[in-house]
Symmetry: C2
Subunit: 216 residues, 2 copies
DNA sequence: TAACATATGTTAGAATCTCTTACTTTGACA
DNA sequence: TGTCAAAGTAAGAGATTCTAACATATGTTA
């Protein structure tokens, strides 16, 4: 009995032969991601991530402050992926084209649907305010990138107040759409609305120059 | 020792003199609402709601299947309030006016900010899919009400596919805006955007008849 | 190469939570 | 008044988070 228990080997469990794991921190983050996607953040448990990673339930506390900190670490990686995907989604599209705006929205929504656990953990407001400077930073960087795209598209050399306002409109829209799509509200209550058309239409309306007649 | 413990009396705790509570179900729902607003749904515990209500931790299970069912019961009441407020927000505004659409959006956002716990519990996707026919029903009823307003505003006698599409755009927008506002993204990243103006501008853009030139 | 310091694990356990089972009290009604 | 169902309680099983104390690798330095 060397203390190297090999209990039952849950499916997908990482087999451990050495006392040291190799990169437990990364392993736990990946386990966390898998579990959050499978069962939702509310049902995520540190214990289960430990089981998946083949370590004791005390091990994570050498790498993370607490459960919340584990989730934050996982979400940070997710947001990096999110931004990377958005950037590569427009790589080959003509600069200044509204197609780029639409593609950014498309990708925003796609990420939310492909990694709903991560997306909702970040934006659903589930935990104790996952405030972390790294999250703040990447969020700002991503939005700034979008704002520059909007400016290009409008022919503005800089990010003006108007550009910022329209960028925020676009964000609000795709953000809400992401939640509603994942909640299946579009299929339940939207009739036969075509998602692709919806994205294009909204982008067009927001990028359009409306001679503002009534400000109410 | 009659089993009538009066331990410490946590602040705000309901004092219990009788064996029977009176209306424990309602009391627990209200305690649940308070706790969710105070500490977030993730930190809500049945035990604490019991402490607030002055009953044993086994009592709720006479009224609710489990913790999740308690949350669902509380959210249902919240969604009824949500709809009621939206309806009364437009009561005195001229029928068919875009002011009504804007007021609905305003109220949607206001509710999300006033009762973020409830709002995010319903839409943040926190729990094990809080699917309940009563929630479905009230959601549909509310959206239908909005669609009729949109139709009126566009001069359509019925809820056409186009009306539905625009209604869904509006919903997506105010929905996302609600999340972003609560996350303080507008104040952090929106510069000095005026919320009131934003709502009016978006309503106008979505209600406008854009001669659709390019559908891509 | 030996010895130490540090990082990274483990074991054991305290505090808390959800939910069940079996028992008790209460109020309503025949 | 007696009985029954509804609505509480007490006790406890099983899980969970996190801590404290201990164990083992790893790498640096004398």
């Amino acid at each position: 009995m060397t203390g190297m228990q090999k209990t039952a080997d849950a499916p997908g469990a990482v087999r451990k032969e050495r006392y040291h794991h190799g990169d437990l921190r990364a392993g736990l983050i990946e386990a966390t991601r898998r579990l959050v996607e499978e069962k939702g953040a509310a049902n995520f448990s540190v214990s289960e991530a430990c089981r998946l990673s083949g370590v004791s339930t005390a091990a994570p506390y050498k790498h993370f402050r607490d459960r919340n900190d584990m989730l934050v670490a996982m979400v940070i990686e997710g947001m990096v992926r999110h931004r990377d995907r958005m950037m590569s989604a427009i790589r080959d599209l003509p600069p200044g084209s509204p197609l780029r705006i639409k593609a950014l929205g498309q990708e925003y929504v796609d990420f939310a649907l492909n990694e709903p656990g991560v997306f909702r953990l970040k934006f659903g407001g589930f935990t104790d305010r996952l405030e972390d400077p790294r999250l703040e930073e990447i969020g700002h960087a991503t939005f700034d990138m979008v704002l520059r795209e909007v400016a290009d598209c409008l022919g503005e050399p800089e990010v003006t107040a108007d550009v910022r306002r329209r960028g925020f409109m676009l964000w609000s829209f795709v953000h809400g759409l992401s939640f509603l799509l994942h909640d299946q509200k579009l299929s339940d209550m939207g009739g036969d609305i075509d998602l692709d058309f919806l994205l294009g239409d909204v982008a067009e309306r927001i990028l359009n120059d409306v001679s503002r007649t009534h400000r109410t």
